[in-house]
């Protein structure tokens, strides 16, 4: 593992990111802007499912409008996140909080994908989910996971 981390550390890209002082904060800023788009877009869908906001809109209208932003936003998060990892490989890869954050991200990705597929399902997939009482828990879980992911992201700097 140590050899792997040293290898990343030694790459030209990593060296560039470490040596040009303003690059890491700039990439972190892009990461924050992307997470803002992702978080609010995901929250709009989750709050709609929870019956807290946007009730006048059809569910499919809301998912159709906002879930693509979650998808593309997560790609930007992954790209900027990868750059940050390359810049500081130890900080990311050796920190358990980072690993938990990635697991949480995979979980919320699964939940979001479920919502996307079932909401668009014309054969009543969404209604089935609601009848099982699973729709609102998934939406609430998704919201809480995004909040946790943001928190974990910040705490990486301290732990």
């Amino acid at each position: 593992m140590n050899a792997f981390l040293n290898a990343i550390d030694a790459t030209p890209l990593s060296q560039l990111l470490q040596n040009v002082r303003w690059l890491i904060p700039l990439i972190q800023s892009a990461h924050i802007l992307a997470l803002s788009v992702v978080f609010v877009s995901a929250a709009v869908v989750d709050l709609r499912i929870l019956g807290i906001a946007g009730q006048r809109q059809r569910l499919t209208a809301v998912t159709h409008r906002f879930l693509p932003w979650v998808g593309w936003g997560v790609l930007v998060l992954l790209a900027t996140g990868l750059l940050l990892m390359i810049a500081e490989p130890r900080r990311a890869l050796l920190n358990p909080l980072f690993q938990i954050k990635m697991v949480a991200l995979m979980l919320v990705g699964l939940m979001t994908w479920t919502i996307a597929v079932l909401a668009a399902d014309k054969a009543g997939g969404w209604a089935k989910l609601e009848r099982r009482g699973a729709a609102k828990p998934i939406a609430l879980g998704s919201l809480l996971l995004w909040l946790a992911i943001i928190g974990l992201g910040r705490w990486i700097a301290y732990a």
């Binding site: 904060p25 800023s29 803002s36 978080f39 609010v40 906001a53 943001i150 992201g153 910040r154």
Partner: protein, 162 residues
Amino acid sequence: MAVPPIFKLLQASPLGKTITESSWMFPTIETIHVIAIATVIGSIAVVDLRLLGVASKDRPVSALTQEFLPWTWAAFVLAACSGFLLFSSRAADYMAIAAFTTKFVIMALAAVNMLVFHLTTQRSMAKWDLGRPAIGARIAGALSLVLWSAIVICGRKVGFSL
């Protein structure tokens, strides 16, 4: 330029010292701050993208502003409160960082942008509520996105400096 004494007092106050000396308070308050600003930026972006005619084109601007801006305001209050607590822990140190004061200057510009839009272009909103937004709306939306991005960059630079 020397930092005014009031900031040194704030930093040395019981409030400031409690936060500095705690192992968990600053990161926790900072997390709340990040969640709050993410909500501010994200919700403003929804409205700005609509003003630019890029997203939610089939919905009236007025409906979007009514739905999203209350969240923006609530999140802004949370960001300001959490921000003040963070600030109090090292007030004098923060005031010495150029990016910190710049951040508030840009926020003032964002407020002016919003005010100008509200007092001028928004008055004629009924004419362009649906369909292609008026040029004033597009300018306001674009400016808002640029200014808030700059605010985030300043904020990150501050965090990186201390």
